[in-house]
Symmetry: C2
Subunit: 249 residues, 2 copies
DNA sequence: AGAATAGTGTCTTTAAGACAATATGGC
DNA sequence: GCCATATTGTCTTAAAGACACTATTCT
């Protein structure tokens, strides 16, 4: 059949003229608690890969989702009850082997959420979900290729931590610089120089003083807030690993 | 129906249980010629968006493509006859508006190819294709959301040029440092300091001398080759824009 | 006063920018 | 020798690391 106008073409067009692979969105939802980077996993209640732990994810809702980001936000909301944190697309993986049902594609997103705000959404929660420290999660024999996906997300997070202000999105509204530095250190897996860290954050204008203080135990600490619109601020240099320490291994 | 084993589940599983969006791979194929960054566009011979210029792209071949990267390589080969350049996934865009046929998703890749090696593949070439300088391409009213896609690819390329050795993948086997610097300058849109550029490349061990020289006209220049395995080397600092120049605007 | 945590002073180091000076080969 | 292009010397600058020192509050 030969069409002579776009209208005519679209009138005759049927979805499913082309065989289309399965498409899903998967989420690596990160938070920090107990001094460790944690990831939220769900235990699958259905085949395939029933009973295995997996990254939360699912299909696009063609009727309700405006775009992929919406799908990711919806998944996040379903699993955590949280609505507005930082979401970033990591990578899209597609091949014939990753799912026993055949050719399938997933777009992987990661989310960074403030642990204090958070509570697992129990409503209509068929599947178990739980937080795992990253290194435990990676030893869990996850469903599908989710170990690889989780590694991709962790790598992206730690690499961006070296040159952006992204970890600030894990913080509550107000926070002390020591708290922020601790978050950086947890993600990076090594310590940072206090003076250098504070200078970097303040001189770049990434954080600003609120005037308020937080008394925890000893000397009260100044409370700061994030001073920029988005979390994609890039520093002109990478953070280094401490110059003496022979790296962990 | 309730299944009790993965085998049983898979035996009854049918594709198309879920409505799945259209999925394509689109390519921003870059090269450098005549002192400008160029992109390869094709003129669509079919509906929708017939006759408009577009990024080359198409559906996954579920029977032959191993994974998405293979699909991208295949598209590149079909359009250019070239087989092994640098390919990188930029982003995956999916929403309801971008294609008149409904919800659709595209994974955008970019390729960097050595213009000297290249010739447009005329074999079985139904669609016209042509190279355009980026700024011309962006004024062309491209099909679908391809202007947005092209912008994403260009942004990724220039941002990675600021802190990686990626542009080296645009070079032939052997090249002079002046040639490489020129490529950087074209992509970035501003000049770079000669000494600083050479120091950066050589001290990081990104390039190595071949011992050979190239006599163009005046003093012969040393020929270098790329010294690393992959093109993802990251420098510890960003290139700056020249400190005096008040930027272009 | 002593402990603990917050915050600063300041010297060193790394790698980039600026710019002038030198080197080489064609004509 | 003159010109153009390649290549190097070396001073300055930006921003990070190291590390010691001061400040504030609690007990």
């Amino acid at each position: 059949m030969h069409y002579t106008s776009e209208q005519e073409y679209l009138a005759h067009y049927q979805k499913r003229d082309y065989d289309s692979p399965l498409f899903t969105v998967d989420m690596a939802i990160f938070s920090i608690s107990k001094g460790q980077l944690q990831v939220l996993l769900i235990q699958r209640s259905n085949f395939p890969e029933k009973d295995k732990w997996a990254l939360p994810g699912g299909f696009v809702d063609l009727n309700h989702d405006q775009d992929l980001m919406t799908t990711a936000h919806r998944k996040l909301l379903e699993k955590t009850g949280i609505h507005t944190p930082y979401l970033e697309q990591v990578e899209t993986i597609g091949n014939r082997q990753r799912d026993p049902r055949g050719w399938s594609i997933t777009s992987l997103y990661f989310a960074l959420i403030d642990f204090q705000k958070f509570q697992i959404e129990e409503t209509a929660q068929i599947e178990h979900s739980a937080w795992f420290p990253i290194h435990e999660a990676l030893q869990l024999e996850l469903a599908f290729d989710h170990q690889k996906l989780l590694n991709l997300a962790v790598d992206r997070l730690s690499s961006k931590t070296r040159y952006t202000a992204l970890p600030a999105s894990l913080m509550p509204e107000r926070f002390t610089l020591t708290e922020l530095q601790t978050i950086y250190e947890i993600i990076l897996g090594h310590s940072l120089e206090k003076k250098a860290f504070r200078r970097r954050m303040q001189e770049a204008g990434v954080v600003e003083e609120t005037g308020q203080h937080k008394i925890v135990g000893k000397r009260p600490a100044q409370l700061f807030r994030y001073a920029l619109d988005d979390f994609n601020f890039t520093f002109p240099r990478m953070l280094e690993t401490p110059r003496n320490s022979n790296e962990d291994e």
